[in-house]
Assembly symmetry: C2
Homo-oligomer: 212 residues x 2
Amino acid sequence: MSSTDDLQANARIRGAAMDLFGKQGIRATTVRQIAQAAGVSPGLVIHHFGSKDGLRRACDEWMMAQITATKTAAVSGGGAMEAVFRAQNQFRPFYGYIAASISEGGEGADRLFEAMRRLTRDMFDVGVPAGILREPSDIDAMSTVLVALTLGATMLEGQLARHLGGEHLLDPEVMPRYSITATELFTYGIFADDTMLRQIQAAFAKPPPDGL
Amino acid sequence: MSSTDDLQANARIRGAAMDLFGKQGIRATTVRQIAQAAGVSPGLVIHHFGSKDGLRRACDEWMMAQITATKTAAVSGGGAMEAVFRAQNQFRPFYGYIAASISEGGEGADRLFEAMRRLTRDMFDVGVPAGILREPSDIDAMSTVLVALTLGATMLEGQLARHLGGEHLLDPEVMPRYSITATELFTYGIFADDTMLRQIQAAFAKPPPDGL
DNA sequence: CAAGATATTGAACATGAGTTCAACCGATGA
DNA sequence: TCATCGGTTGAACTCATGTTCAATATCTTG
């Protein structure tokens, strides 16, 4: 790294890669597309990152650095309610890339999912004593399921937004409807009582049939 | 189509395609892999379906036919609780393919998502009067969100299973933990009370900040 | 200023994947 | 029996993509 331009080229390439990876998927994004978006030649992309996979790894590492950098600030921040909010917003700027990275597998995917799972678990550790969150019977499983559900919904952002009357989740018409509905789901559930839950618990207690 | 062998070749190719598409993703699956799995030559795949995309369309249509064929039976079946169960199980055999198809976009993805959303909505129409399901304040949004969450979790089957102590969702160690946790989530939610919900509703009622 | 290193390019290469095509069965029917 | 037609093959073609490489520009440094 000699002057500022070098970093800018690196950063432009990485930024273009994260953007396109997130929007189109990693496999569907070509080195030439990234190069064009960054305003450089395809050869330079390889020169700086070794390979397309190296570029992907660089994206993973850069994002993790960004996240862990803001993580400490989030945990040390204000009240527990804010902590819950921040835990969700922590990854939001990277949701597109995370979804693509995880859905296409690979090494980085595991680390990413694990990081999100741990942060969600932290959310319970803070939110339950504060009286904001119910205590799940299996907190590890609940953290995992929550991350999978949230991430999965992000992968289906387009479908979600289309059915909620917009183009993207962040559209002012879509976001309120999604937020309120998701929060309602996470507040009251969908079942009228615990009949189904007891039924499933009983079903798995003895024989192994099929469940939700 | 002259004898039964012709149909068998067609069906073998389609079956191999649905299997591989679901396991590896559509783009990641090659015509040669499908041909080998079906025990035929790559040329025959194109001969029968015109192109790889034609094969994908054929998979979509065949699956939709299968689903709509069993749909009537499910709706007309026994009690409301069973109806809820069947609504979930309806698509289960095709979850892998559906997840791949939707996550990689395309025409069929929209139809698929819409079909699942409608079936989920039907589930509410049956389950709410029967006293099994809570009535959501926005039933269309809730149906959409539920489909997105469920489908998304399926896309992340590998990650889910790994964190729950197995390889696949259907593993006898994984399935109970996932089912019980998901049902617990859908029964009690995760919030201790409706503070968060009221807060979000209020936040979106007047100014447009940022939410869940 | 000189020299070496680094950034950058653009063309070329190798590989893999979708597709085409001419030839080869194998059954069906006159 | 023989001709015809659809199923089937496997090799070849085309194209996109990741990657390499020699050449050039730009910058740092002694």
